[in-house]
Subunit: 132 residues, 6 copies
């Protein structure tokens, strides 16, 4: 099994509901350094999993829809806790839609799965893994 990973980041504000979150119930923020891994059993005719340049562009496009925003005010997350693990899934699902829509090229339809990891600090990160 092959994998190709590209990295980018986003900077957002949000707050959490639930006592478990302690001081993070207050409005605060995070930089998420985001790693998106494309997994594939066999390489395509160009000997790649996906084009790193196009994967980088699509990841940037997905993150641009979230970055420099207060997620508490985004309709897509109304009533939801935008935890690191929940956001990892959002990014993975949106990337998957783009692969299905052909944004990474015809060959990228051969991708088998995705893993998205969001690093919230040097001591904590979360990931979500799904088939494509």
């Amino acid at each position: 099994m092959y994998g190709v990973t590209v990295r980018d980041h986003m900077m957002i504000a949000h707050s959490f509901r639930g006592e478990v979150f302690g001081p993070a119930q207050r409005l605060h923020g995070a930089t998420y350094v985001v790693d998106a891994t494309f997994r594939r059993a066999a390489l395509d005719a160009d000997s790649i999993v996906v084009d790193i340049g196009r994967a980088t562009e699509e990841l940037r496009a997905v993150l641009a829809e979230l970055s420099y925003r207060n997620l508490d005010e985004e309709e897509a997350f109304a009533g939801a806790n935008t935890t690191t693990e929940a956001l990892a899934r959002v990014v993975a699902d949106r990337l998957a839609e783009r692969v299905h829509a052909g944004a990474l090229g015809e060959s990228a339809r051969g991708v088998d799965g995705l893993v998205v990891t969001l690093h919230e600090s040097h001591v904590a990160w979360a990931s979500y893994e799904r088939p494509l």
Copy 2:
């Protein structure tokens, strides 16, 4: 599948028995930067795998039992080589006990598995993965 990882470290002394270890048969030491990953198929009602704060506390508690010690003199390791891979299992097993005992909260009983990685330097690390 979701994962949440927290990082901490411990500093220990030890020596190894066996010719394969060369100069590491002498008493020496290591800083282990430790990553503990909690894996789970679905998020809990708060949209988390485990609370990062509590996970950090439990990992710190497990490492405090090992850190600033000469492992050669710890009864728990009598007759055993405390290699990086063996210690990764010790940390994972002790964390699993704490999850089972409810130390990470009732919801954390839904955790499916653990991966513990010990970085012994910038060029070598070891991990142990187990179901919960």
Copy 3:
């Protein structure tokens, strides 16, 4: 010249005023991974610059006053842009006050200077350096 550095982090929300900031004029947030370096010409009687444990505690205390907050609503920053470089100075100045107040111990009064670096992502960081 000796230096000792400890690392911690804080997670904040804020917005900037000024066209130069583009989308960062919107409310967003950041994780700052913070490195505080204590510089000193000669070691103290214990062969240290400062005690790493106490330095870590004082840095944590300084960051706790800022973390999990919306800096736009903090009186201390009224009318100011809390850029990465400006916050680096805030952290350095507050650490310096603590050193002067004896929070790091009598010996730490021998510290000559401080450097504080705030990493806002894997591709951007800022620092502020000052004498003590």
Copy 4:
């Protein structure tokens, strides 16, 4: 399941054929920081997956056959695109041969699988995973 990883690097020149590669069709180069992970269900009699010293030596030997070369002129890669993912497989397959040949010792024949990751920059990497 246990894993042990060692890290080294190689520096090569190459070019790619195919429009998807854009400017990377020109002769250019890369530093690949290479992580080789050895996976194993149970530890051997010395409580190790493989000896980290020997694993480091064998990885260095595999990389020495590739480093400081223009891969476009290497017979082994005639007509092939030496992409990061393709090279990850080359390194993994050559390491596997060495394990099978006994270069890591008799005990290392118990290794179950290999993962090789090549980091081409701070924002892109690729991996190949195979059973042994």
Copy 5:
């Protein structure tokens, strides 16, 4: 003194002349992860050293003139060894020209100095520091 750093990378091929370089006399290549630090005694009216967005763009522009090339065939480097330290100066000097030309905005003319660091691997890097 304040500093702001932005990071990007370039991928090049080259060879060195001189016995000291051993196997690096052959055509090979490197990824350079490049950190450019802008130093300044006082912040500007927006509370910044330079705009991180513009600094990132200018660094990218400087690196684009070098990346995906065989430096042995670039006229600018005819007869010169393009070592990591020599390239650090090239990048710093070209960035300095851009600052002087106003590419980072009028306020950036207040920048006092530059430091450029090129990381050639996880175990070696070089830097060049100059006033502006």
Copy 6:
């Protein structure tokens, strides 16, 4: 001013005397990831500060004299606390001796200064800087 840095590591056991050290008064250990920076105002005839290969070898030789040892039993450190900052100086001074003795080649006598940084964990490190 130019700088070239090489990285290696050592693994040692030791204990500290003094109440300030708390649990670190017990025998424990550390991995030190060591960065040695050679600083120089102008490059030599080969366009280098020092040869990275030779610098790596000399750093390895200095660290080999310390690694896989209990520093409490080394005569060189009798009665001394081998703190991270104190060891940074030991490594810097021993490297300086090697430069003066010609171990890095005649040209390396033009080196102006050294900085040695010892990383004891992902959250703490110390350095020592000296002229040559």
